[in-house]
């Protein structure tokens, strides 16, 4: 059987080397691969009568030969300049399998994944936390005392139904809110953990605000915090710089300004120097040529927050920061309107 294969092969090569016009080549094709009486076809048909061992031996070799004959024939046809070769058009659009295209991940999922990948490589734990939370974790434990003006900074959705969740602590008030910040996880995490703690919380937050192109009542943040024995401002700056360097794949310039957030002391607003225009383009959508772009809030965790988590005063220090992931994705992907995230419009989603 094997011998007949090699015989067929040499005979074919011999014949094909002597012809050059398309009709002759087609004749050779029929004589070897023709459906009824092609020499190789007949031989392949005979395979079924063989024992399994023989099949294993001959089958692959026979197949290989068929492929070789086919490709030699095609080559010969091309040389002959035959119109028998099917026309092809490389400019036709690509498609994936028959009638299927791939789906799309939401841009917020994508920016979160990018951030999570970077933070995980730095040893951070990723958590999401509840979106409906007790006043204690969203406000009081974060040093927003009840009825304090600091609370006015965040317009809050309050829940008027009774909540009966099992929680790790007793609450002074059974007041529940849609979390206004992913910082609601600071005390939740710290009271269960023993430093060193490195954690990020990507998630959805809510504010009772009228919506427009830059404001949504439902939006996205990524909170991060690090607590250990000697965490300082210099390390906060380094960490943030490293994150943005990774996100934008280039060196970045950051600057801090004093900013007020009750759960940090000192607290800062962090600006990044525009990586899109370098502060030189008045028509830049990101910075309008001003250079500095407000990116996030950050600071050293307030001792009251560490106390709420049950740590001894002065034992640990830590930093925390909150990145607006929706806004970051707007910058990165050139999205002009925050509302697009929540409208479920496929013309938007299919671009990602």
């Amino acid at each position: 059987m094997k011998q007949s294969l090699s015989k067929i092969e040499s005979a074919f090569l011999e014949e094909i080397s002597q012809v050059s016009d398309a009709d002759k080549i087609e004749e050779i094709r029929v004589s070897y691969l023709g459906r009824k009486a092609g020499q190789l076809t007949v031989l392949l048909r005979g395979l079924k009568d063989l024992s399994i061992e023989e099949k294993k031996l001959i089958g692959p070799a026979a197949n290989l030969l068929r492929q070789k004959i086919e490709s030699t024939l095609t080559e010969a046809l091309q040389k002959a300049g035959s119109s028998a070769v099917p026309e092809f058009d490389l400019s036709l659009p690509g498609k994936i399998s028959q009638d299927k295209s791939l789906g799309h991940l939401h841009p917020i999922t994508q920016i979160n994944r990018e951030l999570i990948r970077i933070f995980q490589s730095m040893g951070f734990q990723v958590l999401e936390g509840p979106e409906l939370d007790n006043d204690y974790y969203n406000f009081e434990g974060l040093n927003f005392p009840f009825d304090h003006p600091a609370r006015d900074i965040q317009d809050t959705f309050f829940i008027d139904s009774k909540i009966t969740r099992e929680e790790p602590r007793d609450f002074t008030r059974n007041d529940w809110v849609m979390r206004t910040q992913t910082s609601n996880m600071q005390v939740r995490v710290l009271e269960q953990a023993e430093p060193p703690v490195r954690c990020i919380i990507p998630g959805r937050v809510f504010r009772n605000e009228a919506i427009d192109a830059t404001h949504e009542h439902t939006f996205y943040q990524l909170e991060g915090f690090v607590v250990d024995e000697n965490i300082n401002i210099g390390q906060l700056v380094w960490t943030l710089k490293e994150i943005f360097r990774q996100i934008f794949k280039q060196e970045v310039k950051l600057r801090l300004r004093p900013g007020f957030f009750p759960f940090v002391e000192p607290g800062y607003e962090v600006d990044m120097f525009c990586v899109f225009c370098g502060g030189s383009d008045v028509s830049c959508k990101v910075c309008k040529g001003l250079g500095w772009v407000e990116m996030l809030g950050a600071g050293m965790i307030h001792p009251n927050v560490l106390a709420a988590a049950g740590y001894d005063a002065g034992r640990y220090t830590g930093f925390a920061f909150g990145i607006g992931t929706g806004r970051l994705a707007m910058l990165k992907y050139n999205i002009p309107d925050y509302r697009l995230y929540m409208q479920g419009d496929l013309r938007f989603l299919e671009q990602f």
Binding site: G123, I159, R165, E166, P196, N232, L256, G259
Partner: protein, 790 residues
């Protein structure tokens, strides 16, 4: 808050130019939103006097005026009727040709046949002062033709600072406060107004304070006054800061607030009876008519100023109408007091007013502030309101001690990451008005810092770290690599599962959406659900369609189908998100398939492939309404659902959207859905995988077509095949369902393929045939199925 640059210059002579001030203040203390340098080009707008007027011959609504504008010849200017002008009035006149704000070009032209050589300008047209639709009239002694820039505070530079950025800095809500800050940031000398001590006169009021926690201090000063206009410097400064000038007494109280940050209030003494003032909480139901022309009903949370038990002001928030200062007032009681932040905040909430006064009190002001503020008020009233002090009563039971904070050099460097030189610390804190004593202890240097009374926000050592770092310049702190023990945290299993789900479904062609966590009662009804009462609700929703917290992702996904269905003939979406219940919050996956051939089979196939990808051992069963009570059957076609479960626990369901619900949402095409619970998926998703041996013997496909009653579901056929199974059966797959020609009415033909394979030997044709014949008999017996002829 808005600050006048010129006013600040009075306190800080070397104040930096506006742009530098803006940048450096933003970097060192508070966020300057905007500096408005005025910069209005009004060179050709001058003081003009109307010397003659007549009506326009061709237009009743227009007038012709002859104006003396300081030129040799008067000008003729046509004007409308917005302001009633009379001969002798002096007002701003734009001389043609010129351009006034908003790029309005003024040219000589004919208006209905009469020449107009300029324009009479309203305040709004010049963009000045309060920008009213009114004319600013000049005093008769102003010379005609004077450019108005010289006589109006037009180019007053104002600085706008974001209130939110100084929520914690009560001391900054005034000019002296921000001046003090500027002098510290820029290291400039500070020259605050020197006030004389309070006049030594006899107390004339009988002041009672019910609770000194609510009101630690109350200075009541009785004065006789001559009501009138404010001097220009006061009214112009008020206007620059956006406060309307009313009369000298009221203006001075406002001026004091802008200057020192102390809200004060003047009562008309003649409208009070007797000399008693009591500061007490309101009784529930007590009322007061306030200056905003409303009558407020009060609760015990509200702190009142009362006279003979009658409410005359809501302390720190707003005065009462009856005791207010009017044009006829000749004697006042000036209140310069101190109220607790929390009390004023609650009062303001209850009366529904957040006045400029309340805004300052709720940040927390020191009772020490009352004294210089009172002294300054008296000084201004004596000078500009012809006042005489009749009596002064100061109730101040307990002067608070100054705050002392001790900060170790070690903690400062530990938190900041920078070693500050002691003399730098000393200098920076002193610039803020602190007194610093440096001590040596066993563990290093310690700074004992006495906080000035106006810095009520400095309480703990971290506050001092913030002050030192920001004045020094936080951007000068060298960055340092994050170090610490390397630890590998456990990651959240559910988040990992979600990531796998997203990848799997996107690979299968689905697109991920994000929808609101809220929907409305209408949406619940459209879903055909009977469980609105079980939804948690928002007390203050933005609108009714955002009142309820979602207990399923489906409603908004269906809405996504509706809004997208004209774009594409088949829509495949999914979302993973939180559902909210009273006792828990869980994550759900929902996917919808709308349009295309057999959406249900696609949806189910996706769910099953996903469960396999997550390595979950699962079974499926069709359940019907009777077997399982649930308020949500309305959305399932035929009240049937496919239930996925693992180890007896429900993972989720699949179903076809009922025709009713489909039409409720205006969905055009047949739609199927799947919901799965993420925590349950996480529970049963196994990380264990064991490879099954691959048989070395060939597998044999066997196709069968059987005719059965319409009522026989595929599941029954599959069950018979599987029970007939034996070790040979590898898999079953539906190929085709056929109704029509050659099939009796009420019957259907089901074609399926089974793959048979033995692990021990090559399957003999006879064994296969035997298996098939036995199956056909079984199917015939159990399901009355017959083999369809080919």
């Amino acid at each position: 808050m808005i600050y006048s640059y010129n006013w600040l210059r009075e306190y800080v002579a070397d104040i930096p130019e506006a742009k530098k001030l803006m940048t450096e203040l933003s970097l060192h203390s508070v966020e300057v939103e905007e500096i408005d340098e005025g910069g209005i080009e009004l060179g050709n707008v001058v003081v003009g006097e109307l010397i003659e007027r007549r009506t326009h011959p061709n237009a009743d609504s227009l007038n012709i005026g002859i104006f003396d504008v300081g030129e040799p010849e008067p000008r003729q200017i046509i004007f409308g009727g917005v302001a009633a002008l009379k001969v002798g009035d002096k007002l701003p006149v734009a001389l043609a040709p010129t351009i006034i704000p908003d790029e309005i070009k003024i040219k000589e032209r004919k208006l209905r046949g009469e020449l107009s050589q300029g324009m009479c300008c309203l305040k709004s047209e010049l963009g000045i002062l309060d920008r009213e639709e009114a004319v600013h009239f000049f005093e008769p002694d102003v010379i005609n033709g004077t450019p108005i820039i010289g006589v109006l505070p037009l180019n007053e530079t104002v600085i706008d600072i974001d209130n939110k950025s100084m929520t914690h800095r009560a001391d900054l809500f005034c000019h002296t406060g921000i001046a003090r800050e500027i002098s510290a940031v820029f290291n400039l000398s500070l020259n605050l107004p020197k006030t004389a001590p309070l006049p030594k006169v006899k107390p004339t009021l009988d002041i009672k304070i019910a609770d000194t926690n609510d009101c630690p201090r109350y200075i009541g000063i009785e004065l006789s006054v001559n009501l009138g206009k404010s001097p220009d410097f006061i009214s112009q400064r008020l206007q620059a800061c956006g406060v309307k000038s009313i009369n000298n007494v009221v203006d001075i109280t406002n001026y004091i607030m802008l200057e020192f940050g102390e809200p004060t209030h003047a009562f008309d003494a003649d409208k009070l009876s007797g000399n008693s003032i009591e500061v007490r909480r309101a009784r529930t139901g007590e009322t007061i008519a306030t200056l905003d022309h409303e009558t407020k009903t009060l609760t015990e949370d509200v702190l009142l100023i009362t006279n003979n038990d009658k409410a005359i002001a809501v302390a720190g928030v707003i005065g009462g109408t009856e005791s207010s200062v009017t044009d006829t007032t000749t004697r006042i009681i000036l209140e310069v007091a101190n109220f607790s932040a929390l009390t004023v905040r609650r009062s303001a909430k209850i009366v529904g007013l957040r006045t400029d006064g309340a805004l300052r009190w709720e940040k927390g002001l020191s009772p020490e502030l009352a004294e210089p503020a009172a002294a300054r008020a008296v000084e201004l009233l004596l000078e500009y309101a012809g006042a005489k002090v009749i009596g002064l009563t100061d109730v101040y039971p307990k002067k608070p001690e100054l705050t002392q904070i001790s900060l170790s050099a070690d903690y400062l460097s530990r938190l900041s990451g920078f070693e500050f030189e002691p003399k730098v610390v000393q200098k920076l804190l002193t610039a803020l008005g602190c007194k610093v004593v440096t001590k040596k202890s066993k563990t290093g240097k310690v700074y004992n810092v006495e906080i000035p009374w106006w810095r009520t926000d400095l309480v703990i050592r971290e506050d001092l770290v913030e002050e030192i770092v920001r004045l020094y310049g936080v951007n000068k702190i060298p960055e340092q690599q994050l170090i610490g023990a390397l630890s590998v945290p456990n990651q959240d299993l559910e988040l990992e599962i979600i990531s796998k789900i997203q990848d799997h479904l996107v690979r299968c062609g689905l697109t991920e959406t994000y929808n609101y966590s809220f929907y409305g009662a209408d949406d619940i009804i459209k879903m055909g659900w009977d469980d609105q009462v079980d939804h948690l609700s928002i007390q203050n929703p933005l609108s009714e369609d955002l009142r309820y917290l979602r207990t399923s992702i489906l409603p908004r996904l269906l809405d996504n189908i509706r809004t997208n269905q004209m774009q594409s003939s088949s829509i495949q979406l999914f979302e993973v998100g939180h559902l909210y219940f009273s006792d828990r919050e869980v994550r759900q996956l929902a996917l919808v398939i709308s349009g295309g051939a057999e959406p249900y089979r696609v949806a189910r196939g996706l769910a099953e492939s996903l469960l396999s990808a997550l390595n979950i051992n699962f079974t499926t069963s069709v359940i019907v309404e009777e077997a399982s009570k649930c308020p949500r059957w309305g959305m399932y076609q035929g009240k049937q659902a496919l239930r996925f479960e693992s180890a007896g626990e429900k993972l989720g369901t699949a179903g076809i959207l009922s025709a009713q619900v489909q039409s409720n949402w205006d969905i055009l095409r047949g739609t199927a859905f799947v919901t799965l619970s993420i925590p349950i998926l996480a529970k049963y998703s196994s990380t264990k995988r064991a490879m099954r041996p691959i048989s070395i013997f060939p597998s044999v496909p066997l196709d069968l077509s059987v005719i059965v009653d319409e009522s026989v579901p595929w599941g029954d056929i599959e069950a018979v095949v599987r029970s007939h199974g034996s070790d040979l059966l590898q898999s079953i797959e539906v190929i085709d369902i056929y109704r029509g020609e050659a099939i009796p009415v009420g019957k259907k033909s089901l074609s399926f393929r089974v793959i048979l394979q033995s692990q021990q030997q090559t399957l003999e044709m006879s064994a296969m045939e035997k298996w098939r014949d036995g199956l056909v008999v079984d199917l015939g017996k159990k399901l009355d199925a017959t083999l369809r002829d080919k």
